[in-house]
Each structure stands twice: as structure tokens, then as C-alpha cells.
Amino acid sequence: MVSIFTRLYPTISSLLPPLNEKNLPWIDVIHPIVVHFVIAMALGAVVFDFVGIIFKKPNLFEVSFLNLIVATIAIFIAIVFGQIEAGLSNPYGVSRDVLNYHSTIGWSLAGVLSVISGWRYVSRQTNPQVLSKGFVFVDIVLAILVCTQVYLGDMLVWIYGLHTVPVVEAVREGIL
């Protein structure tokens, strides 16, 4: 199996698109665009739940639920692009550890969001106007997880500059 792959490697790599000055096969990073919809929808769902409870507006629970569904779909797309772009990001030094944590929490969050959406679907079947008290706790955990994940992703971009032109240049010159 391995020998087949090594023999085919030149053919496979010639079929792959060339990488640009950000070490990407496309113009800009796609993962940070897709995560707009995970972050905004997950945090939005949490906020709408709380607003719905405080101001007694049960139709906001439906808004939360539909936002959670979008977040759950989007996180899998985010993971696909995240894995591709992480594989091309050439992490260096401490950023390797940060990327590992970001990947681990990212995959876990896909599971967590799926379970939460599924649970929400089931509890909504009986009465969409009522939100069980337990969900407040779940919302808090979800918000903390998402914020942690955003912070780790932010570190990769804003501190370590992965997929930015100067860092990619430095990696290609062998400085990093």
C-alpha cells in the first residue's frame, strides 16, 4: 500500500493545485469565513435563549433552535476546511501546541453541537414553547467552549500569523 502511494506520489502531487504566497490552493483562508456561521449562530443561540427566558418570549427558543441547526451544519464544513488549511499551515514552535488544542476542541465541538441540536430537537417535539432549565447550563458550557475555541484560533492568526504572507515567506526561506 505504502509503496503504491510512493510510486504514485509524483502523479498525485502534479494533480494538486499550486500553492500561493499564503501557502493555499485558493486566494484566502476559507476556514475563518466558515466559522463566522458557527460562532455567530452558537453564541446567538445562547443569547436568544437567555433573552427568551428573561423577557418571556418563547418564540425566541425557536430562533435559537434554528440557529443551532445552522451552527451544527457549518461546524462540519469548518472542520473540513480547517483540516486542509491546518495541514498547509506549517506551524512552528508553540503554535504547534495551540493548533493541536484548536483541532481537538474543534472536533469535540462538532460532537457537542450535534448532541445539543439533537437534544433540542427532541425536547422541542413535545412543546416548542418551553425550554427546560437544564438547557441554561448547557448554553453556558457551549458559550465557554466556543469562546475558548475562538481564542485559540485567534492566537494562530493574530499571534503566530499562520497563512500570512510574511510567515509563509519566512517558512519557505527556512527561517522558521
Binding site: D28, H36, A40, M41, G44, S95
Partner: protein, 222 residues
Amino acid sequence: MINFYNFAIIIRENIYSLFSIVIKSPINDISENLGPNDLPYKIPIHPNLVHLTIGLFAIGIAFDIAGAFYPFEKRIFRFLAFPVTRVGFHDVGWYNVLAASFITFFTVATGFFEMLLAVPIPEVKSILGQNAISTMLWHAVGGVAILLVMIAMTIWRGYQRFVFRKDYGRQVSWAYIFLGSFILVLMGLHGSLGAWLASDFGVHITADQLLVRGEDLNQIFQ
């Protein structure tokens, strides 16, 4: 003989050099409070609020589109045993756009704060051939314009929900949907300008700023 032309050039150059000394960036006055990323904190705030602005607005418009085409979708949702209502879709459309408008004031405010402190890498051109300052100015003016458009859209959306189309199943007019979709395209372009400020011009990215200054990242990020 005095060559008046050369004399004028010398005077002009002196004036220029005088100005380049006099007009220095006001950032220098607070430079000791700023980190290597030219900010008083490690992670810029604007790009994080942008997630909320774009995500909420885009999905808000998307759900209103879903609500508008509901008669075509309801069989599919029934087939999938996924009980949803048209009112539910339009609720998401309204509340998401409302939340996006609220948060975008903070997105724009932090954007301006961080743009005032931006130190882009010199002599870089974006994919559109723009230099750093024109990208920054377009992103700034465009950002305020988009805020204005978003607020107008939210007010229009509110009027449709509570006044104009109160008794209709489809809560939004086709004009709102077309305009909303067009704004999403504009937002994509606008967001790309912002993305290039980071990825190409290295604004507020610690690693990029340190590399441009010729410092050794391997030592700093040990």
C-alpha cells in the same frame, strides 16, 4: 548666475523634509503602551465581532429567503420529519438581522480604534493592486456605509414585520430579499479587504510585525 529652477527645487525639498519631521504619527505618543502587534492587547477585537456581524446578518437574510420560498420547501421538511413553520423562519430572519445591527456598532467602533493604531507592512500591494492605506480607507468608509445600510435594512424589516406585511404569510418583500442578497455580496468583498489587511499587510499580527522588524521568532515563541 543663480539658477532659479534649482533654487526652487532645493526650497521645495527642504519644505518636504521639514514636514516629514513635523508630521509624525501620533501613535508614537503612546507607543510604550503598545505591544509588538501595535495594540494595547494581544488579540484584536474587531475581527472577532465581525464573526457576529456577518454570521447573524447573512443567516438572517438566508432564513427570510427560506421563509419566502416556504411553500416549495414544506413537503421536503415533512418528508424529513422536521417540523418547522414559516413564522419560525421569519422570526430568525428578523431577530438575527436585529442582533447583527446592534452588534455592528461595536464592530465599527473597534474597527476604527484598531485602524488608528494600524502599522501595515510598507510597499505591499493587495490582489486588487491597492496599497495599505487605500485598502484601509476603503474598508473604513465601506464599513460605515454597510452599517448604515444594515440599520436601514433592519428598520425596513421591522416595518414589514409589524406594519406593512403584518397579515401576510411571506413577511418580506422580494425587494428586501434581492437587496439583502446584494448586500451579502458587497459584505464578502468588504470582508476580503479586511482579510488582506491581516494576511497581506500584517496589520496587528504579532509574528508578521516581528518578522518585518527582523526579529527571531524562534527565540520569542519558544
